[in-house]
């Protein structure tokens, strides 16, 4: 297996993975999506809420805030010894505000300096003059299989690596394909009088080029052992952490099958 990192930033990564098959990469995709634990608000204790937003709507909004997650310092609630929640399996976020103002996710004060909201400017509720809100939000580790708020990825997808072949004997160099391609993958080279493929990785395999080719000289196919794998995270974990944790989980699952008696 050969992996190339094509682009990478804080929340996105695009990998070119060669030498694997569809079941393997699909397993990786599904684990990235729904089996990696992240932090999210699970219980909310509302002491006071004078605003016009209902308690349950406010709780739902709190649950959807992505929280920066440190997987080493906190345990899953199923694996914790406590009955409900304790400091080793949960983190409290406190909120106490008086209007008039808009309350943002940045106003939440976390008891753990590592586990804080990813974004500070998520509007949670609006308070009018004299209205108060006071609550304690309890965040816990969970997985996306249980609720989408625990999904670390917002995009987790792969596609076949596109291969565009132009049969030079059949090609009449009408340059129709280059004009038709919506992604600008093909270009008509006047000097050499032929069509050239600029960047096959930009191709979405829509096959508009081959549809309009009268001598059918151009074919677009996907390689079944090479993939473009794209991950976008919500910021709770970095894309590298997502992929490495997914590989660990896949290895653990494979071990379970191998040692099954």
């Amino acid at each position: 297996m050969n992996i190339d990192i094509k682009t990478k930033d804080e929340q996105n990564i695009i990998l070119i993975i060669e030498g694997v098959d569809v079941p393997f990469i699909n397993a990786l995709r599904r684990i990235c999506m729904v089996e990696i634990p992240t932090m999210a608000v699970e219980n909310v204790e509302i002491y006071k809420n004078d605003s016009r937003i209902f308690d349950e709507v406010l709780s739902h909004r709190l649950g959807l805030i992505p929280l920066k997650t440190d997987l080493d310092s906190i345990t899953l609630r199923e694996e914790c010894d406590c009955e409900d929640h304790c400091t080793s399996c949960s983190v409290s976020l406190l909120l106490k505000e008086t209007g008039p103002k808009v309350v943002y996710s940045g106003d939440l004060t976390s008891q753990d300096s590592k586990i804080v909201p990813v974004h500070d400017r998520i509007p949670l509720l609006k308070l009018r003059d004299g209205e108060e809100v006071e609550l304690e939000a309890i965040a816990q580790l969970g997985i996306g299989l249980e609720h989408a708020k625990w999904q670390p990825t917002t995009t987790s997808a792969y596609m076949y690596y596109p291969v565009i072949t132009i049969d030079s004997e059949k090609c009449e160099v009408c340059a129709k394909c280059a004009d038709e391609c919506p992604r600008g993958v093909l270009q008509f080279d006047e000097k050499e009088n032929k069509i050239i493929v600029l960047d096959p990785e930009q191709c979405t395999m829509c096959k508009t080029c081959s549809k309009d080719c009268e001598p059918s000289a151009i074919t677009v196919e996907g390689r079944e052992d090479k993939f473009i794998f794209k991950i976008e995270t919500d910021g709770s974990l970095s894309p590298e952490e997502v992929i490495t944790t997914a590989c660990d989980i896949l290895a653990q699952k494979s071990d379970k099958i191998l040692t099954f008696k």
């Binding site: 909004r61 995009t155 919500d234």
Partner: protein, 55 residues
Amino acid sequence: MIPIRCLSCGKVVSGYYEEYKKRTEDGENPKDVLDDLGLNKYCCRRMIIAHVEVW
């Protein structure tokens, strides 16, 4: 209030709405603002451009 996440993909969009609103009111092209904010998918873009703040 704007939903916290994109309804289709789950990307956080609410944190960008105020900046989008301010910058478009100042005369910037909405397309350029959305590109600059990193909202590349059309599901996330419609969350922002179709939102009406009613209260």
